[in-house]
Point group: C2
Chain length 345, copies 2
DNA sequence: TTGAAAGCGCTAACAG
DNA sequence: CTGTTAGCGCTTTCAA
C-alpha cells in the first residue's frame, strides 16, 4: 500500500497558473526580488499557501542559491560542539537558510569527502568546526564556496575565522591553580606533529599557553608536559605516566575535559583523592564537567557566541564574496568546580 | 584576495569533450548504467580523473537521484544517538550515498521543518531517529520519500521501522535488581500524554515493561512510578520525590542514563551511598555511563546495529518503493556496573 | 511592472 | 553500443 504513486510535486508553474501570472513573477516573490507590485505579491503568496508550494532547492541551486548551509563537526560525541551548533542554528532560525551537518569526521580524508559533498550539493556556505585538514585544502574549499573556520587559529585571506584564545584559556587555568598555591602543575597535551597545524590547532596553543603562563608565574622549573591524545584513554595513560614521576605534581591541567575524565579514573584507581591529594582541571566545559558526580573545573569557550559569529561572517561573505577576511577571537572564561583546591589539604 | 573569481566548475560536457564522447556516455559511466563498452568506460574514467570532475548533485536530482541520505536526530547531545549514526555511516561508507544530519530537533514543529527541508533538497531517503511527530506526519513524509523510523515502535505500511524492544530492556533491569535481592524497585518515567505516541514511544514502553516485569517477579505491590522528564533535572526531582516516600525504595530504575545522572546527584546530596544504601540503573548505555567515575548499570540498545539495519531497509526501499514495509526489532542487553549491588549492604 | 525565453548540469527516452 | 534530444524546476536576462 503506502501510496505507491507519490503525488507529483507542486511546481512554480502550478503556482503561476493558479495565480494567473508568469513564473517569473512567482520567482520574484519567492526571492523578494525587485519588480513586482504589492497586489501581485499578495496574489502569488495566496496561491503559494493554497497549493502548499515549496520551492525545490536543487532546482534553485542550478541558477541561484540552494539556501543551504553546511556545518562540519569533527566529532559529534564531543559535548562541546553542540554548543557551537546551537549558536549556529539560533542565528539561522529566522532566515530562509537550512543547516545540515556533515557526519562526524575524523581525519583529513573524511573531511575532504564531506567538504566536497557539500560543494557538490551546491551549499551556499559552509562552516568548518576545528578542521584538521591542511590549510591548502581549506583554501581550496573556500575558493569555491564561502567558508568560515571555527575553533582553529590561523588567518587566511580565503576564509574568515572564529576562535577562542587558547593561550588565554590555558593562562586562566594556570593562574587559578597558582593562586590556590600549586607550583608543580603538569599538563597533558594532544600530540601534534604536522608543522602547519602546529601553530593553528587549539591543542598546540593550549600547551604553549600553559608553558608561557607557567613562566609568567615563575614556575618555569615545574613545567611538565605529557604527550597523549585528546581521549579518555589518553588521559588515563598520561596520568599513569605522571604518577610514575619521582616528584609528583599537585595539579594536572588536562587539555580537554575528556582527557580529565581519564585522569580522574587513573587517580581514583591509584587511591588518590581529588582535590585532596591532587587537583585536576579540564578544558571545554562540556556537559559532563558540570555533572554533580564529576564537577570538573574547566574552561568555557562560549561556543554559542562562536556559532553566532560564524553565521554572521558567513552571511556577510555570501553577500559579498570579495570583502577582506575577518578574524574573530573570543575570550574563554574559567569555571571553577570541585576538582581543584589547595594543595596538600 | 582569495581568488575573487571562482573557477567555473567542470561539467559533464567538459568531460565528454575531453574524452571525445557524448554526455550520455559520461552519464552512463557515472551511474554504472548499461550500454557502454569497457574501452569507453576507461576513456571516460580517465578524463574524469584528469579533469577532477565531480557531478553536481542538485542537477542530478532534477532528473534522477541526489545520492543524499538525510538523518534526523532529536538531540545531538544525547550520547546514544552517535551510536546509531555510526552504524548508518559505516553501512553507507562504501556506497555513493552521502549522509547529512538535520540539526537537533525538539518538538514537532522543528521536526516538520527539517523533514520538509530534506524533501525539498531532493534527498533520496531519510532516516528519522526517535521522532516525536504524529504518525500522520510521518506517513506524509514517507509518501514523498523513502523513510525509515528508528527507535520508535508502531508499524506503518508507509515506512519501515527499526527499534529496540524496550519491554525486554526494562525486564532486564528489573530482573537484574530482583536477582540481587531487591523488592522495592521504583521507576522514573518520562511523562507521555499524547495518546498516539503513548504506545509507540520508547519511554512509555519502558514504563510498561517495568510494571509488567515487577508483576512477573511477584513484586506488584512495590510498583512505584514517578513521572518526570528525561532530563538530568527530571531525575533529580524524581529522586527527591522518592526520598520523601514513607517507605524508601532500595533500587531505582531510571528510564534513561541522563535521568540516572540526576538521581545520583540527588542521592549524593542526601548523603546516601550508591549502591550501599540504594542501587541505581539507567537505560541507553551512554558514554558517561561507562565513565569510571560514574560506572552506571545500564541497558545497551545496540545502536550500531540499529543504524546498519536502518540503512539496509532504506536502500532496499529506494530500490523498490512498493515492497511491503518491514519492522526490525532488536534485543537490548544489560550492562551491569558499579551502581547496582545487593540491598542493605 | 510584467513576462517570454534561454539555460543551469544532468538523466531518460529514443533513434540510429 | 552510441549519440541526439527533450526536459527536470527554477532564475535570469532582456524585451515589451
Amino acid at each position: 500500500m503506502g501510496l505507491p504513486v507519490p503525488p507529483r510535486r507542486v511546481t512554480i508553474i502550478d503556482v503561476a497558473r493558479h495565480a494567473q501570472v508568469s513564473t517569473t513573477a512567482v520567482s520574484k516573490v519567492l526571492r523578494n526580488a525587485y519588480g513586482a507590485s504589492p497586489e501581485m505579491r499578495a496574489k502569488v503568496r495566496r496561491s503559494i499557501d493554497e497549493l502548499g508550494y515549496r520551492p525545490h532547492a536543487g532546482a534553485r541551486g542550478l541558477r541561484g542559491q540552494t539556501y543551504t548551509i553546511g556545518v562540519m563537526l569533527p566529532d559529534i560525541r564531543n559535548p562541546f560542539f553542540p554548543e557551537i551548533l546551537d549558536g549556529i542554528t539560533a542565528s539561522l532560525e529566522d532566515t530562509e537558510y537550512q543547516v545540515f551537518l556533515g557526519p562526524g569526521c575524523n581525519g583529513e580524508q573524511a573531511e575532504a569527502r564531506v567538504t566536497e559533498a557539500m560543494i557538490d550539493r551546491g551549499m551556499d556556505g559552509i562552516i568548518l568546526v576545528a578542521p584538521v585538514s591542511s590549510r591548502a585544502h581549506l583554501e581550496r574549499v573556500a575558493a569555491s564556496v564561502p567558508t568560515v573556520v571555527v575553533g582553529r587559529q590561523g588567518a587566511s585571506p580565503a576564509y574568515d575565522t572564529v576562535a577562542d584564545e587558547d593561550y588565554e584559556g590555558a593562562a586562566l587555568v594556570v593562574g587559578h591553580l597558582a593562586r590556590l598555591g600549586h607550583r608543580r602543575i603538569a599538563h597533558i597535551e594532544h600530540h601534534e606533529t604536522d608543522p602547519t597545524r602546529l601553530a593553528e590547532m587549539p591543542n598546540a596553543r593550549r600547551a604553549d599557553g600553559y608553558r608561557q603562563a607557567m613562566r609568567a608565574h615563575g614556575l618555569a622549573e615545574w613545567i611538565d608536559v605529557v604527550s597523549a591524545t585528546y581521549t579518555q584513554e589518553g588521559g588515563y595513560q598520561g596520568a599513569k605516566e605522571l604518577l610514575a614521576r619521582p616528584r609528583r605534581s599537585t595539579a594536572v591541567f588536562a587539555g580537554a575535559d575528556i582527557v580529565a575524565m581519564g585522569v580522574l579514573e587513573a587517580f581514583t584507581e591509584a587511591g588518590l583523592s581529588v582535590p585532596g591529594d591532587i587537583s585536576v582541571a579540564g578544558y571545554d566545559n562540556t556537559t559532563f564537567a558540570a555533572l554533580g558526580q564529576i564537577s570538573l573545573t574547566s574552561v568555557d569557550q562560549a561556543g554559542h557566541e562562536m556559532g553566532g559569529n560564524a553565521v554572521r561572517l558567513l552571511l556577510e561573505r555570501i553577500t559579498d564574496r570579495r570583502r577582506p577576511s575577518v578574524q574573530v577571537t573570543l575570550s574563554p572564561t574559567l569555571v571553577p568546580r570541585r576538582t581543584t583546591g589547595r594543595p596538600g589539604e
